[in-house]
Amino acid sequence: MALSVPNPPTTPRRVKVYELRNNDWFDRGTGYCTGQLVNHGSLVSNKVADIRGAQDEPHIQVKSEEEQDRMLLETKIIKDDGYQKQQETLIVWTEPHGTDMALSFQEPEGCAAIWEFVSHVQSHLLSISGADEILSDDANETPISSVMLPSPELGNLTEIEAMIRSASSTNQARDSLGKFVLSEDFIRKLIPLLEMAEDLESLENLHRLCNIMKMIILLNDTLIIEHIVTDEVIFGVVGILEYDPDFPSHKANHRQFLSDTSKFKEVVPIKDPEIKKKIHWTYRLQYLKDVVLARILDDPTFSVLNSLIFFNQVDILQHLQSNQAFLKELFSIFHSTESEPTQKKNGVLFIQQCCSIAKNLQGPVRTQLYSHFIQNGLFAVIDFALLHDDASVRIAGTDVLVAMIDHDPAMMRAFIFRQISDKQKPLTDTLIELLLGEQDLGVKAQIADAIRILLDPSTGLQVEGLGKASDITSRLHPRNHNADRETENFLKTFYDDSAKKLFLPLSELDNRKSLKGLSIAEVSLFSHLVDTLCFFVRQHAFRGKYFLLAENLPSRVAQLLQSPEKHLKLSALKFFRTCVGLQDEFYIRHMIKWKLFGPILGIVIDTMPRDNLLNSACLEFFEFIKRENIKQIIVHLGENYRDQMKEITYVDTFNMLILRCEQLQDTTMPSSYVQEDKSIRNHVNGARRWQGVKDMDAAEEEYFNTSDEEDNAPTPKDSPIKGANGSGSPVPKPLVDYADDDPMDTADESKPEEKGGTATPTKPALEGASSASPTTSPTTLSPTSQKSDSDVLSGAPTPERLSEKRRREEEDDDELGKLRNKRRSPTCGSGSVNVLTKKRGSGPGGSPPTKKIAINLAVKTSTGSSDGGGGGGDVTGDGGGEADDEK
């Protein structure tokens, strides 16, 4: 078959020949370029070629201009779209042995002529092969993209590698190559070469094989990836990938790992062969993703792997949970006396894995799974697990439990009620006992978490698929009443029956003189209890408060301030910071009554002027009081600790407090007579303990009777400083809302309506400066510049993101925005920060206007620091205060 190629461009064109060597273009010389039809037998004689036309091969030749006999370049044009014309004068391609070449023409015409030749040759070659092998439509439509590879042998791996490499550069060719690889079962044909090359110890070929396999996988063809994890080829594929040319002196041991090290454990035989196969495939996909390809995966292939894994998991779980026979057998392990202990243990771990996978699935599927599990006795399994000797089983048990609470807290609470009515020990108590007795610190931490989550009233509020209501909106809008009542009931039961048990170790501190010699487990228990208290203070409005104050737990926590363990001191401090942060009358009065500010001030004095963490945390505590201008506390401090405070001069916080106290005593007496009276009375009561408690109880009663609708926003009537909030307020909005400009306000700021009144009357002038808020919601801004930034990410997440559009971890870069929906705080403190971020959109004053970005706060922060009630010492300065005023 003769090539009917148009006449080759025989006019010599002046050209420079370049070769890529070590990433540099090496100049091979200058010469004259022509296209030739060349016969194998003779490079010279076109006549011979004419005679044996079938052997004609299109070549590009460049003769040196200095030495006429020397060829600078002699290359065959192959059927390959790796040739590129760049700009007007450049042709670039990759030689079959992998070298990148370039021709740089003196004249654009010369370049065009040679390029035309190349294009013609290629379309010819392709149409021939297309006619031979692919009779389908696309051969006619896009002949240029149908890629063919020769049958693999050790001898032609170089060529194959080059062909695949060049085919990888265009989408059409990739598609075509993918089809070819599948239809020709190309991967299976490669595998025998592995053994041959290994026998020959031909590292070169092994590396080529590896390159070929990598490129095939990175074609990102779902069918290919599904194919490579099948039993027939998986070992060959990972075997080939063991010889990575990027690590020439290393050989991975994937085959050995997959065949020997990794173990498929079958707690109960899975009979469906299809499902069993899927389990293996999924494991292998995982292994490919994490190990074999970890370094080289590009984003599209990564997501193909992920979605394959995901859909397999859905299938597997769907099958298991609907297979009653299987479930019966699984759960019967735990009833049977015959089953081996290891089998039971594995049973728990298996269930843990199911639940953990289920988290990725859609809500209804999960619900089904849990309800089937529960029907078969999941709770008994949890009981079994929580009491197991092996810490890993206890962890698994807690894990399952937490997953269930997270999925459907109402379900869990209903279950606990049933336990109570059946006179069984409720799960809550089991958890409490575990927490108190657990020695493994990891399990202890996890159980503490579980208790908090179980008692988190906001867990009942979630509706799958809807945007989660921010704390603030859920406070402002009436909740679902049923869920509310149920949650309330649950909390009531907890506080009636269990809370005392939980906090018993704290209560018992009352009799303890010294905190020296606590064991590690005890210290960790105390810090978990105090963290839990913080959580209750924030989340359980009145019930928590009543319990805490009745048990006088704040005084017990204050004892911990004396602990030699500094981190325990910090935990205790955090508790008081949380109480003060709420600016809640009752906590403040309680702390004043029991003189709990004293020990905190004591820490400042002990640690100053050493500028350590404890010291900073204490300073922050008093800074907050100063900044928020909490008059009751300021007056109390001034009256009781003036002398100590005067001694603390290395920061101005305390002198400012004294000053503020003096001002308050001078000026506010008439206008806030009630409050002053109260604080004085409390002060007096502080000395006469028992009457004080009684007094408190009366106040609590009154509060409980009147605050049904305000559970979450207690606004005691008798406090004039609270007067400015709400719609009935004479001042329609806060003059200055300090909340948003507070950099480290970790305590609950979620009740903006409570604090409007704290602004001093000297502030209104600041209102005008409403421009330029640094606290404007980030979503109003499109990303600006910083292209090099590794951590930038696009806008707000979409609802579907989790379920299907799982993106690569490396790809979805750091973006805090999508983390904002977190619900609970890890330790005490940060949960409320979340609230802060949401507050802007839903504050009582209506939605704020969208802001522009370009703001210049620097001027304000630097120049504005002397005016306003905040005083120059405020961390925030007044710039923040102004900026926040956004109505």
């Binding site: 350590n612 300073l619 922050e620 600006t784 979805d812 940060s830």
Partner: protein, 430 residues
């Protein structure tokens, strides 16, 4: 100490240490870190490093290039974990060195030293793979809460290089050769563009050595007399500045022991980026701010700083000075994520040579109020650029596979399963 030394030697060979040893180490570290201030004072000489991101072998390369601990003093500006495959070994090695040589190494917190971020970007997953439970992750996160938020380097010398050729900036290239020397120019122009250090160096080398600043800068004349005096301090922080922090002292008033918040001063210090803008801008990251040259210069002036060193952003050349050398980004993770193709750098600050550095004290107010006659000169800076560790020295990086499986390994975990109690609903509603 032998336990600790044993742990260090295990970690140096990139082997994880047993869970009880991690717990022990974290407790010791906690005791140590609780005594540090939010902005830790560090004496020069010190070598400042940027993000590591779990690239253990490149961390070892860093030590090879910069000198080992304790021979060299180090200051790491956070982001030890996530993304790379050896977050655990990298962080624990640094932590154990910290416990072993507390005065030789300073660790400050990056935005990745956070529970929420590590659950998404790999560290949590890695701990789970390597230990089978989240305990170790918990211990580490606990330590994160105690890390300082910044550091202040005092007593840094004005020059690098030998006595005969004193330079303000020296860049040591990948091979260990000096590729750029830049003499001090008192108009404040430093190494503006690290991409072409050679041209930059030769261009400014011509007028190097002249002492007076350009007319009208207020620097001429008097700058000659300020030799060795009041070099100012270098503030090191992971991200950058915050509109809520106008002085270094205010950082002292933060309670840092908490999860990195979503906003506020502490968040900004860890998340902000400098940018070519005026004033403040919102950050596309969704946390922290962008801040312009005016902000940096004002802040430096107010706080008697000559330089802010920060990390947080990938720089292909390893480091990048901005705003007339008033701020520099140092990036120490070469070939980031094993595929970005960038080089990395560390920044060496030497100590003051002619003795005056011994009593170097930084005071926020020292430079203020003395009028424009005082010139604060940036410290002499030597950047060492390095590449990723040679492939052969590290084996093939990969995540550790889980050997036993019932169903399938836990996959693409976007949130923790049932631990921590706070973030497992993170993504459900997004």
């Amino acid at each position: 100490m032998s336990d600790l030394d044993h742990a260090i030697s295990l970690l140096r060979s990139c082997k994880p240490i047993p869970e009880p040893a991690v717990r022990e180490l974290c407790y010791k570290a906690r005791e140590l870190l609780i005594e540090e201030s939010n902005v830790q004072l560090v004496d020069a000489p010190v070598t400042i490093c940027g993000d590591i991101h779990g690239q253990f072998h490149d961390l070892m390369e860093l030590f090879r290039v910069g000198g080992d601990v304790p021979e060299t003093n180090y200051l790491f500006m956070g982001d030890f974990v996530d993304r790379g495959f050896y977050s655990l070994e990298s962080f624990l090695l640094l932590l154990s060195l910290k416990v072993r040589y507390p005065d030789r190494i300073t660790l400050i917190r990056g935005n990745h030293e956070s529970r929420q971020i590590t659950t998404v970007y790999g560290f949590y997953d890695e701990c789970l793979r390597k230990y089978g439970s989240a305990n170790v992750w918990r211990y580490c996160c606990e330590v994160f809460d105690y890390l300082a938020l910044g550091a202040l380097v005092v007593g840094a010398g004005s020059f690098v290089g030998d006595e005969t050729e004193e330079c303000e900036v020296e860049v040591v290239g990948v091979g260990g050769d000096v590729v750029t020397r830049l003499k001090r120019r008192d108009d404040g122009a430093g190494l503006m563009n690290a991409a072409n250090p050679l041209q930059e160096g030769s261009a400014s080398g011509g007028d190097g050595g002249t002492v007076g600043g350009p007319p009208g800068s207020g620097a001429s004349g008097s700058s000659g007399g300020t030799k060795g005096v009041n070099n100012g301090a270098v503030l090191c922080v992971h991200g950058g500045l915050s509109p809520l922090v106008d002085s270094v002292d205010k950082i002292r008033l933060l309670d840092r022991k908490q999860e990195v918040p979503h906003e506020g001063a502490m968040c900004d210090l860890l998340w902000s980026d400098p940018d070519e803008i005026d004033g403040w801008g919102l950050s596309p990251r969704g946390a922290g701010f962008l801040f312009g040259a005016d902000i940096v210069k004002h802040f430096n002036h107010l706080n008697n700083l000559t330089l802010i060193a920060r990390a947080h952003q990938l720089v292909m050349e390893g480091f990048k000075e901005m705003f007339d050398s008033s701020i520099v980004t140092v990036w120490s993770a070469p070939n980031y994520c094993y595929r970005c193709g960038n080089v990395a750098a560390i920044l060496e600050l030497g100590e003051e040579r002619n003795g005056s550095g011994a009593g170097a004290q930084w005071s926020a107010t020292a430079g203020r109020g003395q009028g424009s006659g005082v010139v604060r000169r940036g410290p002499g800076r030597r950047y060492r650029v390095f590449e990723a560790a040679p492939q052969d020295s590290r084996g093939m990086p990969a995540k550790k596979p889980v050997a036993d499986y019932f169903l399938v390994n836990i996959t693409f975990r976007r949130r923790k399963p049932g631990v921590g109690g706070f973030s497992w609903a993170l993504f459900r509603m997004t």
